[in-house]
Symmetry: C2
């Protein structure tokens, strides 16, 4: 039997923070036919609210350090402000979104990251094989589109902040035995670039070997490394397609025959 | 066939703002056997965050006036901070909560209240008969406990702020044909008091006629009036029991033979 399609779309970057970009993106997302899940974090909106509240954000190696006050802010912004506005906008497009965070129906159990070289505070690592995929499948079969924020929980009553790219990758992998899963990371750039300042330097397809080589050459840096680690992890766990593209190109990537963004290959 | 029980519990007042009170309340709530739904607003936490952000809250006739900035704050606090912390705490008690707001699966469609004597801003009135009761029933049958914040939406992409007491009453009424519904309002006082400053003046049961009489005598005032209007509305629409009690007494009210709080009678 042919597996049903499932698109798992992660959106990040400025598109979340700019109302018009977000509206356009969500209209495109609503037009994707078939099963889909949207995953988001928050980005600059959380930074702005933190500053207004007098909390200074700390970023180490591309990841936000989550102290107690920052945890409150990301919970408010990711799970509240962004998640509910996104769902309301999807509803206006006749896309039956349901906003969820990790504690909801215990969909994403996590564990507080232990202090290593860096203390990430209330950062949560997903507990492997514990995501509630059967329930999410039920929701999808009910015609719902899960919209998942990157707030998770430890099962002991504490919320945690998890990397949204990782949630997307882990969820995609967990669904890979039941669906033909396509994982798409949408952000501000055309895809993975050889030169971060030159949109013409797009890498249209990349294998794990290519990736290792680009890293050695210092062409892939910083925030892209965890994203690509997550992306290759999904490929290695049976996700059928993993692509990285500009958020404005989502529908083109899915519907047009021309090549868009960066495709990762095994 | 005997109808299954469904407890619809609204929690408000200081219990939401005080971590230890909330923890105790949620442990009690988790111990309620059978089907249950929790409904909450936010209260003083939203006021505190507003002040830190430099937004002054406006309350008219016991209801918050929701301007654009206030709408952001209540969305962050009710649908994010409080809703997700409550669900995480329920999960720690082995109660499988799922946090939802009005736009999620379109469970509570609302309409922006028209300007009358007072402009309530982004206040939403529930659209009658449009709540997604069948889907909520499905969730309950899946073993989930809905935890519903008072943020709703207008179906056009805009969030709205709705009175949580009203949501509790409307939901209870909407479920009344399928379940033996008991609606319980939990707050800081023992129940409805003849003298708001005297906890000994508890009214243990009250009919609609009694209520009208107490209002005439000026014994029931302010914030209690919309709460009681909602409560009697539920009684008149087939909800089996409607009670108002101190949040610390919830389990006693359900399990003990002694009389707790105020019971409304038709």
């Amino acid at each position: 039997m042919k597996m049903k399609n499932l698109f798992i779309i992660k959106v990040g970057g400025n598109v979340i923070d700019e109302p018009e970009s977000l509206k356009k993106f969500l209209l495109d997302f609503s037009h994707i036919r078939g099963n889909k899940i949207l995953i988001h974090g928050g980005g600059k909106t959380a930074t702005g609210i933190s500053q207004r509240l007098g909390i200074e954000p700390v970023i180490v190696k591309g990841r936000r350090v989550t102290n107690e006050e920052t945890l409150k802010v990301v919970t408010m912004v990711y799970a509240g402000l962004i998640n509910k506005n996104v769902v309301a906008m999807l509803q206006a497009n006749n896309c039956n979104g349901i906003g969820l965070s990790g504690p909801d129906a215990n969909i994403i159990p996590a564990i507080k990251r232990e202090k290593g070289e860096v203390d990430y505070g209330f950062a949560g690592d997903i507990v492997k094989n514990q995501m509630k995929v059967p329930l999410l499948r039920t929701f999808i079969e009910l015609g719902l589109t899960p919209v998942i924020s990157s707030i998770t929980h430890d099962g002991k009553g504490n919320l945690l902040n998890t990397n949204a790219d990782t949630i997307a990758s882990e969820l995609a992998s967990a669904f890979a035995s039941n669906y033909y899963v396509q994982l798409i990371y949408c952000f501000d750039k055309k895809g993975v670039l050889k030169d971060v300042n030159d949109e013409k330097s797009l890498i249209s397809s990349m294998s794990q070997d290519d990736y290792e080589e680009y890293k050695k050459q210092g062409k892939i840096l910083d925030g892209m490394i965890p994203k690509l680690d997550n992306a290759f992890d999904a490929i290695n766990k049976g996700v059928k397609k993993v692509k990285i593209c500009n958020a404005t190109q989502l529908l083109n990537l899915i519907n047009s025959p021309e090549h868009i963004g960066t495709e990762l290959i095994s």
